[in-house]
Symmetry: C2
Subunit: 142 residues, 2 copies
DNA sequence: CGCTTTTCTTGAACGAGTCAAGAAACGGTA
DNA sequence: TACCGTTTCTTGACTCGTTCAAGAAAAGCG
């Protein structure tokens, strides 16, 4: 079994100052994958009841910039965050309720990572979003 | 050479009422691919100076629901619209300036359209976004 | 322990998009 | 062509996720 994540050490490894809000935010993102900012604020306040929403916004931006969390924002949704990073996975998004689920990359390592014509762009990431209806929102047909 | 698009006829074909705002919005989306709502409002007002922003919002929603235009919204961007639909193409987005370019699907018809594990979702679309820097924003290295 | 820099608190502000009520326009029918 | 019911547009207020800004607190170095 893997060792539980050492959030302060992860912050130091990214050359970030270790602050109580950042540790709590990092923990909340690990505990609640795909949570939006408001949910993360709620989770963080279970540990630190006094944190400001701005501290959470700042921490999320900092952690995302450092690569410790990933920010995703499906069209029509608020920002969501996840701690699973660097493994090239993609997302399923429910058009009805907005639920997000992870999917491993379909064709292995880096399938759709090459555009047929890059128009001179320097591409660093390919994001794949599968749109549909989750089991709870699918019309049950008998 | 293809015949120029007959916007009123396209609206009727989708069983939508033909109104001057809708025709102008449809034309603006065709003329300005990937334009955001504000740009579309500006373009529409060249023909109809008095249209309200709400009429443009409503028209865009209606046209998108009817499948005559497609709404795209890369993370961190406002909503953008395009008239190229039904051909399974994807997008290049510049992280710096937000420019959007079209790319044909890399592996032909429907490459990444199948998730490795659909988690019970009913998937109807796979959206691929390539992130990077456009030629204008790329650091020129000599 | 004290100092400098970064981060957090507080509170206001921004802006894309939505909501709601009444006026106008579409298009089927007489 | 005129009428009528329904849809759409105008007007203006409003929501809410997110950002901005100034000063207070705290991280981490010497």
């Amino acid at each position: 079994m893997p060792t539980p994540p050492d959030y302060p050490q992860m912050l130091r490894g990214a050359e970030l100052r270790v602050t109580r809000p950042r540790v709590a935010v990092l923990g909340a993102v690990h505990a609640h994958p795909h949570a939006d900012t408001e949910s993360i604020i709620g989770a963080v306040r279970e540990d630190l009841p006094e944190v400001s929403h701005q501290a959470v916004y700042d921490s999320l931006h900092t952690l995302a910039a450092a690569g410790l969390v990933r920010r995703i924002q499906p069209a029509g949704s608020v920002a969501r965050y996840e701690a699973r990073i660097g493994d090239n996975h993609h997302h399923l998004v429910c058009r009805s309720c907005g639920t997000v689920a992870d999917v491993d990359c379909a064709v292995g390592a880096a399938p759709c990572l090459h555009a047929s014509d890059d128009h001179g762009f320097t591409i660093d990431e390919a994001e794949v979003v599968f749109w549909g209806l989750c089991p709870a929102c699918s019309p049950t047909r008998s």
